[in-house]
């Protein structure tokens, strides 16, 4: 990579200013309501974590370079410039203390989409050389090995073997013409191998044709988390190439919220063209199969279950009802957290926070909001559908000595399938 400088950073910030950004900054009345939506502010009480404050560099670029008034102020030296020191200070605000959960975007009274602007600001931060080490390392690994965690196909191959032995079913690999190309996330492969076995069973049960691709199995996009369009586009192209090669009409994003928004909503814009296939989150696919009567279940979970909606899946992608339909299929004692669906609270680990080691204390602080929500309904187990959320819930609950196991929804469905004879 050529040298990262303030100039490059400012150019990248400028490239992100568009009509919505101008409308948002023109409208902010400094009411501070956005802070009331942000787990990082609420759980630390530190006003520097107010969402609109995190956007000050982008705001200055907009005012100085995109408004007549700002240019006039500039002539008299009355404008506030973005400096390298400022960006160094803002690195913590734009990365460590923001999971891009999008909750602030839902509550700002003038309608500012703050999370969108955080995403945009990160593009400038990367070019200015102010991105966190942890995310840089993940991006480099993603480009070099295909996985942000450096995981290789041979690790997955071992897991496939295990699944085939324990389920007695074939895990299809590189099957041309299958209906679905299944993507996974490294986090899931490492922490939750149960997922692969679960979909193998469910798809066999429902008679769905699917395949993995040796060419590309990773669904997450480290380029989006750090905020680098070039890296992000390269990673998306790999998925597109794999899907095109296997001629699949549909691609499934795994139990990972970030991967879904990355491939579903940002991907086509990163590569500048629509996909020749459609993209679904696994939960959408399962609910479609349920609605079509292709999933037959037996028995119900009887303990008190509650559910965590991943931000990226619910608020940022509109998958809200599907997981509830699936819960009702197999759980008879399901209680909602008080604020859920599009108004759910972030687990604290998204938006690259969990890949950024130094953000650990903030990540745990933000989790306290989720913890309080869980305590309110006091479930025996939590269900979710994102490997990052699940890891964070497990670690967080353990940290606070709360004995509440966390399960993946896909696995839970797989456990209730009617046996074929």
């Amino acid at each position: 990579m050529s040298e990262l400088t303030l100039e490059r950073g400012l150019a990248a910030f400028r490239a992100e200013v568009d009509g919505p950004v101008a409308a948002f900054f023109s409208s902010c009345v400094h009411c501070g309501i956005c802070a009331q939506a942000c787990p990082f502010y609420l759980e630390t009480g530190d006003a520097k974590y107010t969402p609109i404050l995190k956007l000050e560099p982008l705001r200055r670029v907009w005012e100085n370079d995109f408004t007549l008034w700002g240019k006039i102020k500039g002539l008299f030296g009355l404008n506030h410039k973005v400096t390298d020191e400022m960006l160094a200070e803002w690195e913590e605000l734009l990365y460590d203390s923001c999971s891009m959960c999008g909750r602030c975007s839902m509550v700002c009274p003038v309608g500012n989409d703050l999370a969108l602007m955080i995403r945009k600001s990160r593009e400038g931060m990367v070019q200015a050389g102010h991105a966190p080490e942890g995310l840089i390392a993940a991006s480099v690994r993603a480009i070099q090995t295909g996985s942000p965690m450096g995981l290789q196909w041979k690790t997955l191959a071992v897991q496939i073997q295990h699944v085939q032995t324990s389920s007695g079913l074939e895990v299809p690999v590189d099957k041309e013409g299958a209906e679905y190309l299944v993507l996974l996330s490294s986090m899931e492969i490492i922490n939750f191998p149960e997922y692969l076995e679960a979909i193998t069973k469910i798809f066999d049960h429902a008679g769905v044709t699917w395949t993995l691709s040796t060419q590309c199995f990773e669904a997450t996009n480290a380029g989006i988390q750090i905020g680098n369009k070039d890296i992000a586009a390269q990673l998306v192209e790999r998925v597109v190439a794999a899907a095109e090669k296997l001629k699949v009409p549909k691609v499934i994003s795994p139990e990972c919220g970030h991967a879904f928004t990355a491939i579903r909503w940002e991907g086509p814009n990163l590569i500048g063209r629509p996909y020749p296939f459609r993209v679904f989150h696994i939960i959408e696919v399962l609910d479609e199969l349920r609605a079509a009567g292709r999933i037959k279940t037996e028995g119900m979970e009887t303990d008190r279950l509650s559910m965590h909606d991943p931000c990226n899946l619910a608020r940022k992608s509109g998958v809200i009802q599907q997981q509830r339909n699936l819960m009702n299929l197999v759980a008879e004692n399901f209680v909602e957290l008080k604020e859920h669906g599009k108004f759910q609270w972030c687990c604290g680990a998204g938006g690259g926070v969990s890949s950024n080691e130094r953000a650990e204390p903030l990540k745990m602080a933000a989790f306290k909001r989720k913890k309080a929500q869980i305590e309110e309904v006091n479930p025996e187990r939590m269900v979710t559908m994102c490997a990052t959320c699940r890891t964070q819930l497990e670690e967080g609950l353990e940290e606070f000595n709360m004995e509440i196991p966390v399960v993946g929804l896909t696995e839970m469905i797989a456990e209730h399938l009617v046996e074929k004879n």
Binding site: P20, Q36, L68, W69, S105, V110, G111, V279, F343
Partner: protein, 220 residues
């Protein structure tokens, strides 16, 4: 007396024209800047259209969601009270309606004067409350700029002078009326260059927000 009369006539004449001109041109530039920037084409397959959700958010954002209301009731309620009070005094006070009618030909019924004066008093109290809140709440203190206090002062001056004129608490009357008109003109002049722009741009911002979430299947 004659000095104050001249002052009043100046605020109603040349100053009024200047204020309207700066306001109109400034706002036009501001809105043009926004629309000229536009948005990039979106290639992701949409779940739903943008227009419906965009328009809905333009209205629904006026009311806070229940959770936010519980977490920041003071902020929400006081904000509501003074905005509504300001709008009622602006749009339902007989002399204001007469002014609007002389400019546009449109008119509507006014509220009785005692009601307006009560509304104005409540607005003044609410405005003071927002100032105290801004100076004491850690978040608001931290994000506030000189502009926030300047805009507050101008808005407060508009309401206060109106209230003083109504009760004829300043003599001579043309002086206080002139001060009221002048402060309203200052507000108009500042509007395109400060956060007062939100009076217009909030609807654009809300539309963009509603559209972005709406195409992904979420009503924001």
């Amino acid at each position: 007396m004659s000095g104050s009369m001249e002052f009043l006539l100046w605020t109603k004449g040349p100053m009024f024209d200047i204020a309207i001109a700066i306001f109109a041109i400034g706002l036009l530039v501001r809105i043009t800047e926004i629309f000229m920037l536009g948005r990039k084409k979106n290639f992701a397959e949409a779940r739903a259209g943008e227009w419906g959700p965009g328009f809905r958010t333009m209205f629904t954002r006026t009311v806070a969601d229940p959770g936010t209301f519980q977490r920041a009731p003071f902020n929400v309620v006081v904000g509501w009270v003074w905005h509504i009070g300001f709008l009622m005094a602006l749009l339902l006070f007989l002399p204001h309606i007469a002014l609007i009618e002389s400019l546009t030909g449109l008119s509507w019924p006014a509220l009785p004067n005692p009601v307006i004066s009560l509304v104005t008093s409540v607005t003044l109290v609410a405005l003071i409350a927002t100032l105290v809140h801004r100076m004491t709440h850690p978040v608001k203190r931290r994000i506030s700029t000189v502009e926030d206090y300047l805009v507050w002062a101008v808005v407060f001056a508009v309401v206060l002078t109106g209230w003083l004129a109504y009760y004829r608490l300043v003599n001579p009357y043309p002086l206080v009326l002139g001060m009221h008109i002048l402060s309203a003109e200052i507000m108009l002049i500042l509007l395109p260059f400060t956060k007062l722009t939100h009076i217009f741009t909030t609807f654009i911002a809300r539309w963009y927000n509603g559209a972005a979430f709406g195409r992904k299947g979420v009503q924001s």
